[in-house]
């Protein structure tokens, strides 16, 4: 009895929302062995259950909640879990991860995965408790903000330790970038999966459990875990870790502005003169009141802030991350830090991705500046750069899809299409997802990351910090001394295909295990050997002790996700960058004159990835090698495979 591999809860939930039934099923052995968990297993489930005929906001789309073997296992940092489905924003592969405490609690409640199918006739929330699951009425929660919803669920069950993942009005109303808020201020932010949840009439998922998790060989696992933790505490990383503990991601505002890639004025440039006003020091000195950590994490990058007085005063709240400071700050030429706190918090409460919201508003501000839209379009709102009052009104209008907010609730790609004229020139997105806080004109490899990323212009699937922040020892160890000089040049496209392919593979495992990008991206401590070290004693999957098996698994996950997108029509043509980031040289700042050499990097990437350079599609041999024959057959049937 029980699931063969440890570290897993051993069960998953298949929820039929149409009929209001939950089906508890045994985990599939093959899923764990070949795809590990999180992103990996999701890619298999999504491939099997959705495709070109699926509309993201129809009942046919599914929403997956996924954990990995390391979730809740004391590995630091492992308090993470993920959501997956087809994105309403991009129409392709979507995944979104969050920290906090929900993921581990879901496993302690007895489930590794949840698959939500169909659409409930009435608002419901899913409640998991000690191996049981039931759908409960959420009519009185519908329309509520995320914190109220969490409070109501905890009160309903008289259990303050229940962990929740909930949507807000934005996800209910069909804003294409509605997100899922975990506890009060952690978010599975990107790609609009909160809106998928809303389209299914599911308000929240709540979990509470005392079932616990076993290890295959607890002593060996704890020892391996200790070895990995010792790497974090190595003095090589002392300053990076100290910075994360003190500033969290806010430190990036200063670091990134210094190299000239802080998106400013809707990505017009990468250098913001007022960056100090929204940066780490002012936050740490004036507003930060506490440090928090996700489950079992020894880094503790989350800060709690408080604005004591004035228009934006509020009680203790989870502080905005770098990306939010960028999106509502430099990106909109807004240096009023208290307004950014407010905007970030409102987005959390409304359940809306701060990056897409801020970027879409910045886009509208540029259209205003260029005279492409005027007061008639905005309903009287003055969208001059940095107009805080307009931004505050817009965030509310977007969430409720009122007036001009209706247009912006669709994101930059669709809004640009509806506006017409030259609007498209200022829509900074890839595959429909607004760019996160990086600029490839200052950092070549970001161009490749954005272009090839399975979920659009997003940094979290393969961003390289190696050349950006300078980790010479790591570059030498991973790629060899002879490549050091070119790789460490942030403005050189040479060898970046190799670096990005390697990091994309690594992050595929990071997102499947599921652990945090801290400790893997910044600073780059954990690598493939981490998985060979901890996965076998935890799970009993001895194959994961073989470095080659681990590399192959990583590639398998990457190819399966890519193939999912290919099947939806993504080829090299779509793996590109918006005009601004590809054709307009950086106008000011330390990276002045910079432009990414995307074609050069793409060629190298496709070659190493085992893809055809012309189309970006996978080669037959590569899919065979990875055990993805079923992908080959499907693509071939659709005429998407050539004989190479």
């Amino acid at each position: 009895m029980g699931f063969r591999y440890k570290g897993y809860a051993g069960k998953y939930l298949d929820v039929d929302l149409d009929k209001g039934k939950v089906h508890i099923k045994d985990m599939e052995e093959e899923w764990a062995l070949l795809y590990l968990g999180g992103t990996g297993i999701s890619s298999k489930i999504l491939w099997d259950r959705t495709g070109p005929e699926t509309h993201p906001l129809s009942p046919d789309n599914i929403l997956i909640v996924g954990t990995g073997p390391l979730t809740g296992s004391m590995f630091s940092p492992s308090g993470r879990f993920m959501f997956s489905g087809m994105s309403p924003q991009t129409g392709i592969w979507a995944e979104s991860h969050s920290g906090g405490f929900f993921g581990p609690e879901m496993k302690y409640a007895g489930f590794d995965f949840i698959i939500l199918n169909g659409r409930s006739p009435n608002p419901v929330y899913l409640y998991l408790n000690d191996g049981d699951a039931e759908l409960k009425d959420a009519s009185d929660m519908w329309g509520r903000e995320t914190d109220t919803t969490t409070d109501m669920i905890r009160e309903q069950h008289k259990d303050p330790s229940i962990e929740t993942a909930t949507i807000g009005p934005a996800g209910e109303n069909g804003v294409l970038y509605g997100c899922i808020i975990v506890d009060y201020y952690r978010a599975a932010g990107r790609t609009g999966l909160g809106t998928v949840m809303g389209s299914k009439n599911v308000k929240a998922i709540a979990a509470s459990g005392a079932l616990g998790l076993e290890a295959h060989d607890m002593d060996a696992y704890l020892e391996a875990n200790e070895e990995e933790l010792a790497k974090v505490n190595d003095e090589l990383w002392e300053s990076s870790i100290a910075s994360l503990r003190k500033y969290g991601t806010t430190d990036l505002v200063a670091m990134i502005n210094e190299i000239g890639r802080l998106p400013t004025k809707n990505h017009w440039t990468g250098f913001y003169e007022d960056a100090d006003d929204i940066g780490p020091e002012v936050i740490a000195n004036k507003y930060r009141i506490n440090q928090e950590a996700c489950y079992g994490c020894g880094i503790g990058c989350k800060y709690v802030f408080r604005v004591k007085e004035g228009r934006f005063s509020r009680g203790p709240t989870g502080g905005p991350e770098y990306e939010t400071l960028m999106a509502f700050g430099s990106n909109c030429l807004n240096n009023d830090i208290e307004s950014i706190f407010h905007l970030g918090t409102r987005c959390d409460l409304l359940g809306m991705d701060t990056i897409s919201a801020g970027k879409t508003i910045g886009f509208a501000m540029e259209l205003w500046e260029k005279g492409i839209i005027d007061e008639e379009d905005t309903g009287g709102l003055d969208l001059s750069w940095g107009n805080v009052d307009a931004m505050i009104q817009l965030v509310e209008m977007i969430a409720s899809r009122e007036g001009f907010g209706e247009l912006l609730s669709k994101g930059t790609r669709q809004a640009a299409k509806a506006i017409g004229n030259d609007a498209w020139k200022y829509a900074v997105h890839v595959k429909g997802l607004e760019a996160s806080g990086q600029d490839p004109r200052a950092h070549q490899s970001v161009g490749l990351t954005y272009a090839t990323n399975v979920r659009g212009a997003d940094h979290l699937r393969s961003l390289s910090s190696l050349e950006e922040l300078g980790y010479p020892e790591v570059i030498n160890a991973r790629f060899g001394k002879e490549k050091f000089e070119e790789i460490s040049k942030i403005t050189s496209p040479v060898h970046k295909g190799e670096v990005i392919k390697d990091i994309e593979d690594l992050y595929a495992l990071v997102d499947s295990a599921v652990i945090c990008k801290y400790g893997t991206m910044w600073p780059p401590i954990y690598y493939f050997d981490t998985f060979t070290n901890v996965i076998p004693p935890l799970t009993g999957m001895s194959q994961w002790g073989d470095p080659e098996f681990v590399r192959t698994a990583a590639e398998r996950i990457c190819h399966l996700r890519r193939a999912y997108n290919h099947r939806l029509g993504i080829t090299r043509e779509q793996e590109t960058l918006p005009r601004r980031l590809l054709k307009e040289p950086m106008p000011t700042g330390p990276a002045k004159g910079g432009l990414p050499d995307l074609d050069y990097m793409l060629d190298e990437y496709y070659e190493l990835r085992g893809c055809d350079k012309e189309t970006g599609l996978p080669k037959k041999d590569k899919l065979r090698e990875l055990g993805l024959e079923y992908v080959y057959h499907d693509l071939a049937r659709r005429g998407m495979m050539q004989s190479y």
Binding site: G72, M74, S76, L213, I289, E292
Partner: protein, 178 residues
Amino acid sequence: MDRKREAGIPKKKGSSILKKALAIDNSRCTGCRNCELACSVEHTQTFNPRRSRIQVLKKEKRDIIMPVVCLQCENPLCQEACPTGAIHRNEEEILTVNPNSCIGCGNCVNACIYGGIAIDPITLKAIKCDLCGGNPACVEACEYDAISVVTLDGDGLRERAQGVGDLAKKYGLVREEA
């Protein structure tokens, strides 16, 4: 880690020792709950925070993060409330539950005003911190050095009072200047 071990309890039985307890510096706690995980592994060989003998209480909206654990009271209310005499001091002067006598009635849980004792959801018997017989797993697991072992003499009591003082300030029991 060594610093913590030094403060630990001598393992040799019968040695003349002062009473010990855990002291928590709340200002260092980030609420990561790794202490709970470590405790559950030590006592149950599973990752199961509900079976931990240290519990981190949270109220995020008020920025309250509060680990609670047995204080090894001088006059333990739990012991008084136990109808079967299952709670006693062992040879190292640590308040301990005898699982054979415990009937899981929960009187001890109701009696303890600090939330220092709980009912194990699997065995349905009372569980509480036993200081792991010398090297508490929670102390080892805390990456933020928020938990330490103190002797219940002048210095130790002072250290514990300091922790409580910080708490009182934070939760408004003592007014801070605005």
